[in-house]
């Protein structure tokens, strides 16, 4: 741990002048080529050995270093004719616009200059906060823009000609094109004082440096050539571009010396400008990108830095890290929710530091001596040098081991690891797990732990990171542990809980009339790790409720509404109610978990979760839950119900249409007669589905597994069941109305009559999937289905981006000890966090405490 010696107060950027370039350069390059026939770098060529060496064995002619020690040195090309630096052309335009074309003074009169200077002095003296100073800057920039409209120079009274700027590098004064050398002269004549007003520090960057006379050539280390297997050399894109520049530069020189006509010289000059422009940025708008022989656009300087794959986002913000692993994930119902199954192959590679101290020296030695699995892989000595342990140096290392050494030992059970799935959208996308080393090649997590990661096991991969300091391990363990993330930071809802076969089992088990034999009760409880039996009932059986109650912590009291009834736990005993998803699964309706945490803490809740999931899985397995088409076949009573509902509804719709035609229909408030008809029909058709659901509920056997799944909340709901076994019902469009359009006007398909207003013609499906749909119904279903898919896609995309923008805008705000929300500049965003300083994850605790 080193101390911070200096604070960087400011960074200044400037532009290299021609003189600075020449001073910096170690070689003037003159030959537009790389290697000679012998494969040796040409002196004065682009791979001149003075620019540094990258081939092993060669010696740098500048610093005498070899490939590894030579950092590379800059060279330069002298351009026979100056060219504009295209990346600065906007600034050049601004400067030309702001200065007189004759006397090259700034186009402000002395009074205006005075005002400007005063404002600048004030800004400097007042040490204005950054954001306010930035606002003032903006005002100045705006004023400079207005200088475009100044017609006459206030200093020499010269009438200004119209200056035209055409991207990327063309300037015209009136009709005449300004050549780069003229522009350079104009810029050179600007005074340092005038530049200061514009906001340019002439000491570090003179404006004439924006027109290039000499070009800095980066060292070979920046543009290494690659040797292909065939022995052929392939040069870097930048080298290619530099060759182009030098070639044109040479041709231009020859033509000038030979006294060629002006047109030819101008053409070559323009070509040189093109090459220099594309050398800086090959995606400059308004000019075609320079291409490789194969037709691929060259990757020049700007392309190396820009965008997702550029230096900044790819290599600097997106650095790769050590002590991490990534592989496919899969489930393991046998491990704990806060564990992560790590493949042996990974555990053998990843390491955890063992900090040797005076007090654990012996333990350290013992660890270092080991020759098999949890053994030490590396030793970090006092000088910070890392040594790999080999049979040859083990003895020596054992002898020299002393406090301050760090032993890097293999990962083993119980180590703390951070587990992450991308996209990391919220804080619980990274949680701390305990390592459990397992055979196999995948990471293993439990079902409840998938929810915060939004993971499933269809091929998802996840990342594992091993915290390397004791502080990091402690922080991870106490702040990021899975069992501490059970409640959502969004609204305090439960997000880590059992689902699917984790609730269907408890649902069946805790039914009122469910009694188990002693053997079954013993089996179930022992899978959950409980070695006691509850009190049995009179005839020696055990009620499901009493078996499940064994999982509750002693003395738990809890009460909640469950449907029309109640859910009551009294003194650790479930007296009333059924353990379903609403009571104990994901979501805001689960308040039981909060009650357990309030009374017993997170670790007890975690224990309850694990045990109850095992119990549920065991019971589901014991009972055997299965579904087939059978579950969706209607009995005679329901068949009658279905037929009557449909005829009744269709009759009603026909009636409504009749009333409409006879103009007897009562219009609804704010709607036309036609709209009213639509509205009432929609209501009627939706009602039909509601009726069908009621009938299903009434007339379906309780042992129907599909019904069981829906009622427990494990999977599907009654609507799904109704749509399969009764009828699909009205198919809606994205606009929310019935399906209207499709084939020309007024009908969906050509198979129905024009202006047919019946329910079937507008997407009412009177059959279920079990009976099968008619062709027309199938079309209607497809129309509705497509609409749903589109809507879903649109919605997730839009809300996802919205969420991201919000998260990015808010990410640096934090809550201080006094409950104020602040940003990094200590600005107060809110005087009390959320208006009440309440942590959303603890809302439910507060509510229960009040009661």
């Amino acid at each position: 741990m080193s101390m911070q010696a200096e604070v960087i107060k400011q960074i200044k950027f400037g532009i290299f002048s021609q003189e600075q370039i020449k001073k910096l350069s170690v070689a003037k390059l003159t030959v537009p080529d790389t290697y000679n026939e012998d494969g040796y770098p040409i002196d004065g060529g682009l791979l001149d050995q003075r620019l540094g060496v990258i081939d092993p064995g060669l010696v740098c002619k500048t610093c005498g270093g070899r490939a590894k020690s030579c950092p590379g040195h800059f060279g330069h090309i002298e351009l026979v004719r100056p060219v504009i630096h295209s990346e600065f052309s906007k600034i050049i335009n601004m400067l030309l616009q702001a200065t007189c074309q004759k006397c090259h003074r700034i186009l402000l009169n002395n009074e205006q200059i005075g005002v400007f200077r005063e404002a600048m002095a004030k800004e400097l003296a007042a040490e204005m906060p950054m954001n306010e100073a930035a606002a003032d800057r903006h005002a100045e920039q705006d004023l400079l823009k207005k200088l475009k409209s100044v017609k006459k120079c206030p200093h020499c009274q010269t009438v200004q000609e119209k200056l035209k700027f055409s991207m990327p590098t063309y300037f015209y004064l009136g009709e005449r094109r300004l050549k780069p050398d003229e522009i350079r002269d104009m810029l050179a004549k600007m005074s340092d004082d005038d530049l200061e007003i514009i906001g340019i520090d002439a000491k570090t960057s003179r404006p004439e440096a924006l027109v290039l006379n000499a070009l800095l050539v980066p060292p070979v280390d920046v543009r290494p050539s690659i040797t292909l297997e065939t022995g052929e050399r392939s040069e870097d894109d930048l080298t290619h571009k530099l060759v182009d520049i030098m070639r044109i530069n040479q041709r231009l020189e020859q033509n000038i010396n030979a006294g060629a006509p002006q047109i030819i010289i101008d053409d070559l000059w323009e070509l040189l400008q093109y090459h220099v422009t594309t050398y800086f940025n090959n995606e400059t708008s308004g000019i075609p990108p320079a291409r490789h022989r194969s037709g691929r656009a060259l990757k020049t300087i700007a392309q190396r830095l820009k965008g997702k794959e550029g230096r900044f986002r790819y290599n600097l913000s997106g650095k790769r890290v050590n002590y991490s692993a990534r592989t496919v994930i899969s489930v393991d119902p046998a491990i704990d929710i806060d564990e992560v199954g790590v493949p042996t192959a990974i555990a053998e590679k990843l390491t955890v530091p063992f900090y040797v101290t005076e007090w654990n020296l012996e333990a350290g030695k013992k660890l270092l001596e080991r020759n098999e699995y949890p053994m030490v892989l590396n030793v970090v000595a006092l000088d910070g040098k890392r040594k790999r342990i080999l049979d040859t140096n083990k003895e020596d290392l054992l002898k020299e081991l002393k406090p301050g050494y760090i032993l890097e030992r293999q990962l083993k059970d119980g180590d703390i690891a951070l587990f992450n799935r991308q996209p990391s959208l919220h804080r619980i996308s990274i949680m701390a797990h305990r390592v459990k080393v397992l055979p196999g090649k995948t990471f293993r997590i439990t079902y409840p732990a998938t929810a915060p990661y939004n993971a499933d096991f269809d091929g998802d991969e996840m990342n594992l990171h091993i915290p390397q300091t004791l502080e990091a391990q402690a922080e991870a363990k106490y702040l990021m542990a899975v069992q501490n993330q059970i409640f959502s930071p969004r609204d305090g809802a439960v997000i880590i809980a059992n689902g699917w076969d984790g609730v269907i089992g408890t649902f069946m088990l805790t039914q009122d009339d469910n009694y188990l034999t002693k053997e079954d009760a013993e089996h179930l409880l022992s899978t959950a790790g409980i070695r006691e039996l509850p009190k049995h009932s009179k005839n020696g059986t055990y009620s499901g409720k009493s078996v499940f109650s064994m999982l509750f912590p002693k003395g738990l009291n809890y009460e909640a509404q469950q449907g029309s009834g109640k859910f009551v736990i009294k003194d650790g005993e479930l007296v009333e109610g059924v353990v379903d998803k609403k009571m104990y699964g994901e979501g805001r309706s689960n308040k039981l978990f909060a009650a357990i945490v309030m009374g017993y803490g997170f670790d007890v809740l975690q224990d309850f979760l694990t045990k109850s999931s095992r119990l549920s899985y065991a019971y589901t397995t014991l009972f055997g839950v299965t579904i087939g088409v059978k579950e969706y076949m209607l009995n005679d009573a329901l068949k009658k119900d279905k037929a009557s509902t449909i005829t009744e509804t269709q009759g009603k719709v026909a009636d409504l249409i009749e009333q409409y035609k006879e103009k007897k229909l009562e219009p609804l408030l704010g709607l036309t007669l036609r709209q009213s008809l639509e509205q009432t029909i929609m209501v009627e058709l939706d009602l039909a589905r509601g009726q069908a659901i009621q009938m299903l509920n009434k007339n379906t056997d309780k042992s129907n597994f599909a019904m069981l799944m829906a009622n427990s909340g494990a999977r599907a709901n009654i609507l799904n069941m109704e749509q399969m076994s009764m009828f699909l019902g009205q198919q809606a469009t994205r606009e929310g109305g019935r399906i209207k359009r499709g084939y020309y006007t007024n009908r969906v398909v050509p198979h129905i009559r024009k202006n047919d207003n019946s329910s079937a013609a507008h997407g009412f499906v009177a059959n279920g999937f079990v009976d099968g749909l008619t062709p027309l119904e199938m079309i209607m279903h497809a129309v509705g289905g497509r609409g749903t898919v589109i809507q879903k896609g649109l919605l997730t995309q839009r809300s996802g981006y919205l969420q991201r923008r919000l998260a990015n805008a808010l990410q640096d705000y934090y809550v201080l000890q006094d409950n104020t929300v602040r940003d990094v500049n200590n600005n107060v965003i809110e005087t009390i966090y959320g208006g009440d300083a309440i942590d959303p994850t603890k809302v439910e605790f507060l509510k229960q405490k009040k009661e």
Binding site: N827, V828, T831, G835, D836
Partner: protein, 61 residues
């Protein structure tokens, strides 16, 4: 807010006026209160039935 109140509030938060959220003098609400640049407006906010104080620093632009 009076000047003494402002400095008390600022010191209790450990900040300067420039750290407060800003409001333009031209803002209709500021005009209604006849606020001048440099003033601090105290706002009674009520969220979830609880009231708390919020502040705005009046600025020219």
């Amino acid at each position: 807010m009076s000047h003494t109140d402002v400095s008390a509030m600022l010191s209790s938060l450990g900040i300067g006026t420039h750290n407060l959220p800003k409001i333009l003098v031209t803002d209709p609400q500021a005009k209604k209160l006849e606020a001048k640049p440099g003033d601090v407006i105290e706002i009674e906010r009520e969220d979830f039935g609880k009231s708390y104080k919020h502040y705005r620093y009046v600025v020219e632009k």
